[in-house]
Every structure is written in C-alpha cells, then in structure tokens.
C-alpha cells in the first residue's frame, strides 16, 4: 500500500505544481461557462433553464483536458516501465493514478461549479443539485477517461484521440447527471431516480475503467 500511496502523492503533487493540470481545468471550465451567455444572449430565463446542462458540459470537457497526459508522461520518461515491473497489480496503479487525477482536477471543478452557476442565474436549489451531481458524476468521467488515456499512450497518439474515444462513452453519465439536476429543480420525476442511476454509473466505471486501462497498457507496452 505504501507504494500506491507514494504514487498518489506524487501524481497529486505534480498536478498542483506550476505547469500541472489542476488549475488549467478550472480556467477552461470558467471560459466555457462564460462563453455561453455571449453566444445565446442575455436571456436570464433561458440561462436559468439550461444552466445545469451548461455546467455539466463544461465540467465534462474540462475533466478530459489534462487526461491524455496521465500515462503518456510516465511512458515518455520511463517511469511506466518501472511501474509495470513492480509487484503492484496494474489495476490498482491505474485506480490510484485516476484518483489522484480526480482529486486534483475533478474536485476543483465541483468546488467552483456553484460560483459559475451564479453566472448562469441559477437558483440555490439548482446550485446545490448541480454541485451534488457533479461530485458524484465526475469520478465516473475520470474512470471512463483513463481507458482513453491508456489507449492514447499504447497507440502513441495523444491529443484529440482521447476526446473522440471517450466522449461517446460519457453520454449516459451526462444524461443522468443533468436529468437528476433538472428533477431536483423542476420535477416531475423524483430526484432519487436519475441520481441513483448516476451513482450506479460511477461505481460501474470505477470497476471497469481500471481493468480496461490496465489491460490496454499491458497489451500496448510490449
């Protein structure tokens, strides 16, 4: 376990240092959310209605931003070789790295989402519902994203491959995340129904993501 916690601490530390991905995601989130009112005009009622969806879309795009470097950096500097040689199960290594990534890039998005929600004229219920669904949903985005990150590294192609691969897989998370928020604000569906499905999606991706990414890395690193 100490090796895993060392890996977690190292990844988290790199992310919050200068040049790391942590603050980038938040700034990108801010930019996306700020651009929307410019595009659709200052219609406060409309903004309030589509606000949760915009926040979710912004968070989805921002959480994928730094993900393609998750394994690529370790691959380029040879760290991945030593990690593959180690006795640790690769699935746990992937999970530890994904968790460090979520804590440094996903969690800040959740924290700033209420402030960005104010820009979109959201009421307090919508703010807290969006915050809660993002808190539960963003780990799913990261765990699905690690599969893409592993593939991008194994195929030695970074950049746009990751969003193209990963975004379609995140559709269910997006649907139930926004649905739960809307249910909390307007109904008529009770909040619990889409929210429990969102929780289930997060748990499922938490299991499938590390296994799929580890299999990809093992196969791809030969």
């Amino acid at each position: 376990m100490t090796a895993l916690s060392a890996l977690f601490v190292r990844d988290a530390r790199i992310a919050i240092r200068i040049g790391g991905g942590a603050m980038m995601g938040v700034l990108f989130f801010l930019t996306v959310v700020t651009l929307v009112p410019f595009a659709i005009g200052p219609d406060l009622a409309l903004l309030r209605r589509i606000g949760p969806a915009i926040l979710w879309l912004g968070a989805l795009l921002s959480s994928l931003l730094a993900l393609d470097r998750l394994f690529a950096n370790d691959h380029e500097d040879g760290s991945l070789d030593l990690i593959l040689m180690a006795r640790l199960p690769l699935e746990l290594v992937v999970a530890a790295k994904a968790l460090a990534h979520w804590v440094t890039t996903g969690l800040p998005l959740v924290v700033v989402s209420p402030i960005l929600g104010l820009f979109l004229n959201l009421e307090p219920t919508a703010l807290s519902a969006t915050g809660l669904t993002l808190l539960i949903g963003t780990p799913a985005l990261t765990f699905i994203g690690v599969i893409g990150a592993a593939l991008a590294t194994a195929l030695r192609r970074g950049g746009l491959l990751l969003p193209v691969l990963v975004l379609p897989l995140t559709v269910p998370v997006l649907i139930f995340g926004v649905a739960a928020t809307n249910a909390a604000v307007a109904g008529p569906v009770p909040f619990d129904t889409p929210f429990t499905i969102l929780c289930a999606l997060t748990l499922m991706s938490g299991v499938i993501g590390p296994f799929a990414a580890a299999a990809t890395l093992r196969y791809g690193m030969e």
Binding site: M1, T2, A3, A6, L7, V9, R10, R13, I14, R17, I18, G19, G20, N73, D74, E76, D77, G78, S79, D81, L82, I83, L84, M85, A86, R87, L88, M221, E222
Partner: protein, 241 residues
Amino acid sequence: MENSAEAGAKVGKIVAMKLSGHDLACIRGGRRVFCAVRFSVAAGRALVLTGPNGAGKSSLLRMIAGLIRPAEGGIALEDGDPELSVGEQCHYVGHVDPLKPALTVTENLAFWARFLNGAREVDEAALVERGLEAVGLAALARLPAGYLSAGQRRRLSLARILAAPRPIWLLDEPSTALDAASQERLQRVMHTHLSGRGLIIAATHGPLGLAEPEELRLGTPSTVGEDACIARDTDALDTMQ
C-alpha cells in the same frame, strides 16, 4: 555506498543465484532483432552486452526485465526469490531517466525509494540522503529536477538503484553523460554490488571498468544473427501474425 553493501548482505543469503537465458529471440516491429541468444550469469559476476546500434542490447535488457516477451526461448533465475518474478528482482536503468521536472531532486528520489521498497519498512529520509551523497548530488537536493544536466539526471537515476536492495541490476549504457569522477563512483558502486553477490548485466559501448566481465556480443541482423535465424524466420513471423 553502505546501502549497497546492505543490499549485498541481503543478497548474500542466496548463495548460488544464477540468471540464464536460452535460445532467446526478439522480434520488434516485424523485424527480427536477434535470435538464438544464450547467456548465463552467476551471482557476483557481471555480463557486458556489446554490439553495434540496433543489435538488440536494450531489447535483451528489457526482455530480462519482463517488459518484452521473448518470441522464443526463456529466461530462468535459479535460487532467486520464488515468490517474485525475475523482473521484480531487477533494477532497470534505461536510457531515459524517470524523473519529474516539477519535483525536486529529493522528492523524485524519495518517491522511487518508497515505490521500489513496496511494503518493506524503510527510513526513507535516510535512504534519500545516503543515495544523494553516494552520487554527489546532496548539494542540489532542493533543486527541481527539471534544472538538472544530463549527467546529473543520470546520477539521480543511479541513486535510485541504491535506494532499494535488488540482486539483479540491468543497466543500459549507465555511463552515458557521466563525467570522469562520476564514472569512477559508478565503478565503485558496481564493485560493491558484485562483491555482495549481486549480479549486473550492462549494455555498453565503452569500458565500464569492471574486473573481468563476461561479454556477450550481439551481432547485426545482417551479419551474425540473420544467417542463424533464416531457417526459423518464417514460422516465427507466422506465429506473430
């Protein structure tokens, strides 16, 4: 340095450790790099891999580390730890240095010390201090690794292998970018490892200063390798496809 001796003491319990490979073949990108390679190294001995560029020195080291599966043949370790794979008992120093530019020299080494020692209880701070002293980087401990020169990066990589005891060292051109004083230090470290019944396999173009190393010369595929390989080439490619 003392740390390496400690490592040696632990290795010393295993008396007749012997690493050997038989009939090894390697195919990279559809090209046969080498085949029918045989080697055997006993504890306390060093094996030096030589040969022109592209002869497969690095591939052979990666194969022993378990990072590439051999296309043919196998690698066996006698009297090693039966619970661990060969790769898990190896230190591998490749030609890139696994250092993070955003972390300081100490943080980089401390991470590997903890990661490589796994569940074993270690005094990380002491290991790091000793490791940095052994490679002469103690004065730069707080500098971000991004500012290190090529030789200093290599020295930090070598400090890593002193931080965790492992019987087998796989070194891929370890003396690259090292100045004369550091090369001497490397020699001393390797000697200590060998006298502690360790085992070194190093790929190199120049002399490493090891006393009587065994030498394995890998030929270019167009000369030695291919003649020997041609007969088996077709089936090997078939199995690959």
